[in-house]
């Protein structure tokens, strides 16, 4: 989407300082695992977990014990911070088109 070709310019930028128990957003599964995604349906509630991959800690979405994919949302920094502080989240599948899966991340109540 970004690229050359004009546009309006602004200097401000809103940060994502949302309270952990109110942090909710829609995002796509990144690097979806085909075998796991094939078993996922709209409305399914999946687990949000941390996974250490080398020196990098990432957020993964799991169906049972199987990783369905990751997330690479700009809100991930805040999500990581909140999970480390103890808030637990779930991922509800809101749309699925072939391998593209949209989930809503929200705190567990």
């Amino acid at each position: 989407m970004s690229g050359s070709g004009g546009g309006g310019y602004g200097g401000g930028f809103a940060t994502d300082e949302v309270a952990c128990d109110r942090l909710a957003f829609d995002t796509q599964l990144s690097s979806p695992k085909a075998a796991v995604v094939a078993q996922i349906s709209v409305g399914d509630v999946l687990t949000v977990a941390l996974d250490q991959q080398g020196a990098v800690q990432v957020v993964v979405i799991k169906r049972g014990n199987d990783i369905a994919g990751g997330i690479t949302s700009p809100k991930m920094a805040r999500l990581l911070e909140c999970i480390r502080q103890g808030t637990r989240y779930q991922a509800t599948v809101t749309a699925k088109s072939d391998g593209q899966v949209t989930v809503r991340i929200s705190p567990l109540r």
Binding site: M1, S2, G7, G10, S30, S31, V56, V58, P74, A77
Partner: protein
């Protein structure tokens, strides 16, 4: 190994809903890595966006060496064909990149000085494109990716017409 240097930006769209970290360089790195190419991505990232791009690099298997800046650029669209609102970053010192094969994009944050055997350069700036060599970049073999307006300005030829 292909070294890619350029903008890594936040992209937001109201409809269709979209909020991701790509930019020209980020998207190129992701695309090439998914096709099996070996990529080394260089660019600026703020602390909010860095974890997302680091995660993508891990998942897709490319190297990422980012330089921190106070706030990354962001492009905000109301729809996919809208003119974006661009949140400009502060200007940063030049990045220096050396490699056999380098893909360089123009950046809102500043510039990248490239030393390469093979280089591809896309200035990504229709209003005032910077020529490849003007910042000291050099390459034995160079390809340019230009739109019409960029070509006219780099040729300094106002009457140039496409055939």
């Amino acid at each position: 190994m292909l070294t890619i240097v350029g903008g890594i930006y936040r992209e937001m769209c109201v409809r269709p809903q979209w909020d991701e970290v790509y930019g020209s360089a980020g998207r190129a790195a992701s695309s090439i890595a998914r096709l099996g190419g070996k990529v080394d991505l260089r660019g600026y990232l703020d602390t909010d966006l860095a974890p997302a791009m680091q995660a993508r690099a891990v998942e897709e298997g490319f190297a990422l060496k980012s330089t921190q800046l106070p706030r990354s650029a962001a492009f905000s669209y109301t729809h996919g064909l809208a003119v974006p609102q661009i949140h400009l970053p502060e200007q940063q010192p030049a990045l220096h990149v050396q490699g056999d094969k380098v893909l360089r994009f123009g950046m809102l944050e500043g510039t990248a000085v490239v030393a390469a055997d093979y280089a591809v350069y896309d200035p990504q700036n229709a209003a005032g494109p910077e020529s490849f060599a003007s910042n000291g970049s050099r390459a034995e073999h160079l390809a340019l990716v230009l739109n019409f307006y960029e070509a006219v300005q780099l040729l300094d030829e106002g009457r140039f017409e496409p055939e």
